[in-house]
Symmetry: C2
Subunit: 203 residues, 2 copies
Amino acid sequence: MSVDLPEPGTVRPGGRTARVRSAVLRAAADALIEHGFGHIDLADIARRAGVGKTTVYRRWGTVPGVVADLLAQMAETSQPRSDTGTLRGDLLALAHLIRRTLTDPLQGPLFKAVIAAATCDEQAAEALHRFYAIRIAEWAPCVERAAERGEVPAATDAAEVVRAVSAPLYYRLLASGEPLEPAAADRAAEAAAVAAEAGAFAP
Amino acid sequence: MSVDLPEPGTVRPGGRTARVRSAVLRAAADALIEHGFGHIDLADIARRAGVGKTTVYRRWGTVPGVVADLLAQMAETSQPRSDTGTLRGDLLALAHLIRRTLTDPLQGPLFKAVIAAATCDEQAAEALHRFYAIRIAEWAPCVERAAERGEVPAATDAAEVVRAVSAPLYYRLLASGEPLEPAAADRAAEAAAVAAEAGAFAP
DNA sequence: CTGTAAACACAACTGGAGTTCCATTATGAG
DNA sequence: CTCATAATGGAACTCCAGTTGTGTTTACAG
């Protein structure tokens, strides 16, 4: 019989422990951007963070474990959303925000890496889903306000509209591989707006 | 100075070489389904295929290398597309085909794995993009016929409509993690059809 | 049918990712 | 401030994924 030991870092979360976590997550992001999810090891992350590799193995265990914690931290920082006064304007701003993020030379590879980690590890997958649940909830009010203004049916599923804007851009990044041009963001926003107005997201 | 040696398997592609490739790709698919992209090694694939691991390392080199070849083989087998006579009917059939594929206990994990491989390796990424280019081209005629019937503007980008149907389902699988219910396929098809009819894909 | 070299199998080897052990540091309660 | 111990650091160790070297099988040209 094994006793339930506390996870490392949960009993004394202050001072050094917090500094180590911060340094490791920052180093992990750098390493993921530089090498991608496939060619990374925890020893390299530890070296970059100026931390013993034993510490990293003990607290996080695996690369997806670090990614899961990194995603939890990324979920804490919220992106400010637009309020242009029209659904089209807001969705266009969202689409271009996503496009800029995914084509950014730093954030693009990072998002690819965390998604790759999520396909390999259940813990990372759950962290990724929480991350997107938060981001989607942050933008849902755009659609809800459009419903109040009468631009879309009152029963419209706001989160589904936000997902409809995001999906084509991620599909290009991960599956089909077409370049993420600004025109693609325009079409994603326009298509989602038209479909929402027609009640395609209000069952 | 190094001489340009031919790739293994290119000079004598018949008989044994073909059998080995077939066995290895089948074993690779099984292993990817069972363990996922993250927890796989070529020695295991070689064992399953009943082949020396040296052979696998020499011909394919890495796991993403095997995945790239597997995708090339997957691209050869074409899925029959529907012809219901209406754009809505065809897109609905496409959406449900994709949903069934991604929720299939065998094909779902396989697709997750090959997409993970593509995010880690350029060679696998190119193979994946070729795979989707072919699948999308196979379904584009649905939209082209709809254009001939006058259901959508003549200038409609057929491939973009097909991608618009696919994207929300892949987004759920890879990013947001919501379950892939039949209703999600219905909405993806409906939203794409509405947007196409409104000319959102005809710039 | 025969010969040659392309492709493969087997075994020994190697490097480094991940583990273990123990010493050291410093958090947080009293 | 003091003390118990949570958390980290460093080095030695283990194990196996991936490599290399060598001999065998077999596709295919002539």
